[in-house]
Structure formats: structure tokens, C-alpha cells
């Protein structure tokens, strides 16, 4: 694995830098979230237009080892990925994955590249099982992660309140790290060399 920061070219030719999130990213991160269309913010876990909640998200935690990766273009964040693993306890071999890509950069392979980086980090940490928690209404997101081998295992009824105030079901999707890698390699081949690291 090359160390961060890494430079990649997206399929539209845009130069993008990947690196772990830093303490001074709060304003960049808040701007990224403010820029998301409401329908992309609708199903998140918190109100990311609130700078204070974005700051809470970045705080280190005693219980969780959260690894956050950002993708930047012209010093603006265009992608945000998280690998959230408990530091101890019965779920220590699992980690939750979350990836959000700016609307205008979707469909260019950035999500796949960020997921691949998160998979590498998960493998390095010895994570055995990955999971995602997706709103049952986010059919596109469910289809996308299904391609990576994630299977829906559990529905949590009325688990999240949307920005509009109503309750929605959340689907917990899981995959073993070995299955996730097999699917990821297929996807990277299908991307036909686009969006690879530049050496």
C-alpha cells in the first residue's frame, strides 16, 4: 500500500487526493455536507448542516476507533468515507462502513476507490466482517453495496428519523472481508484501469 496522501485520476480526468481526515478539516467537511442535496442528506445519521454535529462526528472516541478518509479536489472535499470499529468488546472483529460522494462526482468510480481503501484498512486491522446501515428507502445505495457482496440480514423498524421528521426502517447489510475483496477485484477490473493510483 502506498502511503497517504495518494493522487488518483477520476474517469472524468479530475485529479483527486485521498488522505485521512485531519483536525483542520472541520470547515471543509461542513462545506461538503452543506453542499449535498437534501435528498442525499435525508437518510444520514445526524443533521450534517449543523456544524456542531459535524464537529462531534470528528471527535476521537474511547470506545470506537473511527478511521476517516476524505477525497479532495482543489482543496474541497468531494468524498467522505468512514471505517468505524469498536476498540474492544464483543463486536471488535466488525466494522461499519460509510461512504458519501458529492452528487456531481458520483458515477466516476470514486466510491469504489474509497471503498477499496477502506477495505485495505479493515484488512490491515484484522476486521472479519463489514456492515452498513442503509435506509430501506435508499434502493440505489442498497443495489450498489449488494454488488460488493453485502447482503441484507436485518431490518430495524423505525430506527432513524429523517430530516422531514418521519421514522424510517434501516437495513443492516453485512459481508465477510474475504467476500468483499473478491467482489472488489472484479469491480476494479471492470473499471478498466480508470481511477487507478498514479505512480
Amino acid at each position: 500500500m502506498k502511503p497517504y496522501p495518494k493522487s488518483i485520476d477520476l474517469q472524468d480526468g479530475a485529479e483527486v487526493v485521498l488522505r485521512p481526515m485531519q483536525e483542520d478539516d472541520l470547515d471543509r467537511s461542513h462545506r461538503f455536507f452543506l453542499h449535498l442535496p437534501e435528498e442525499d442528506r435525508l437518510h444520514l445519521r445526524m443533521d450534517v448542516t449543523d456544524r456542531e454535529q459535524v464537529a462531534i462526528r470528528m471527535e476521537p472516541s474511547d470506545a470506537m476507533d473511527n478511521w476517516r478518509l476524505v477525497a479532495l479536489h482543489d482543496d474541497a472535499i468531494i468524498g467522505d468515507g468512514t471505517l468505524a470499529q469498536p476498540r474492544y468488546g464483543w463486536r471488535r472483529h466488525t466494522a461499519e462502513l460509510r461512504v458519501i460522494i458529492a452528487r456531481e462526482r458520483q458515477g466516476l468510480g470514486l466510491g469504489t476507490i474509497m471503498l477499496s481503501e477502506l477495505f485495505h484498512e479493515a484488512t490491515r486491522r484484522g476486521v472479519e466482517k463489514l456492515f452498513g446501515m442503509v435506509s430501506a428507502k435508499q434502493q440505489v445505495a442498497i443495489r450498489t453495496v449488494s454488488k460488493l457482496g453485502f447482503q441484507d440480514e436485518l431490518v430495524l423498524r423505525d430506527h432513524r428519523r429523517t430530516l422531514l421528521g418521519d421514522l424510517e426502517d434501516v437495513v443492516v447489510m453485512t459481508v465477510s472481508i474475504a467476500d468483499a475483496w473478491r467482489r472488489m477485484e472484479d469491480l476494479m477490473h471492470a473499471m478498466d484501469g480508470q481511477g487507478r493510483e498514479r505512480y
Partner: protein, 177 residues
Amino acid sequence: MIRYPRAFRCRDGRVVTVRPLERSDLEPLLEFFASLPEEDRLHLRVDVTQREIVRRRLSPLPHWNVLRLIALNGERIVAEASVAHRTYGFEAHVGEARLLVAESFRHCGLGSYLSRQLLAHGITENLEKVEVHLMDDQLPVIRFFERLGFERDGVLKDFVKDIRDRHHNLLIMSLRT
């Protein structure tokens, strides 16, 4: 707001005092955990024989609202019960409850009493749903929560590991308040 301490009389006549866990409770809490048979400790989410991990229960958790109750028989802790929910975000209406009762104080009404205290607290905090997370082989505990009205949401395969590194399925149950 429920006021503590409260006295509870078990069906067999023994009386326990129920009150929130305090910072000075570390030693009796460690003794309680140490007194549990390993079979019980295998089903817990953390290794409660580790002092540092138990100590974390005594400090407030940033951005979480946690009610952590203990039941005392004399000076001895015989049960611990908690309910926790986030103080911000879009999942703040969901609480997670945990309950652990010493073997000698099971089947005497104490577990049900503590669970009702947790649910009553949940209602005052405007929780709309309370979850419990269990290993799916804990049949007596599952039946206990079913009697309280909890329903099974489903199982996540091999999602938890015990202190001996063996995998178990995680069962999530929930109750609408």
C-alpha cells in the same frame, strides 16, 4: 423523573436497594462481575474482569444519555441495569437496554422490576423504541424479554465474539414504548 434510591422486595422476601451507579462503586462493581460464572461473562459485550473497561462505566459518555442502575443487597451489588441513547442525531429516539442479574437473584422479580425502571426512564426521555442486543443462544434471557413484550427484529450471523474468541450470532430485540 424517577427518584432514587428505591427499595424493592423480591418475591422471596429479600429486600434490595436500587439506585444509580456512582463513581465510588468501582470496587463493589468489580466484585459483582468477578462473582459471575464464566458462562454468564461469555455472553457480555466486554470483558468485565478488566478494571479499565469497568472503570469506563463510571464516567459520563460524551453525547450519550445513560441511566445506569444497580441493585444492592446490603453492601453487595446483585444486579446492574442500564439504558442509553444518543443526545443528538436522527437515532436519538432509540435506546439500548442492558441487564445483568446475579444468579442468586434471578426468578424473584428483580430483573422485571429493573427493566420496568429502564422503560419508565425511556418514556421520560421520549424514547420511542428500546432495543436489547443478545447472543441468540441465550434462551432464558430471550424468553424473559419476550415476556416483557420485546419482539425479535432479527439475527446478524457471527456478529459477536465472546472472551474466548468464539463467534456467536447477534439477536436484536425491540419494544415500542
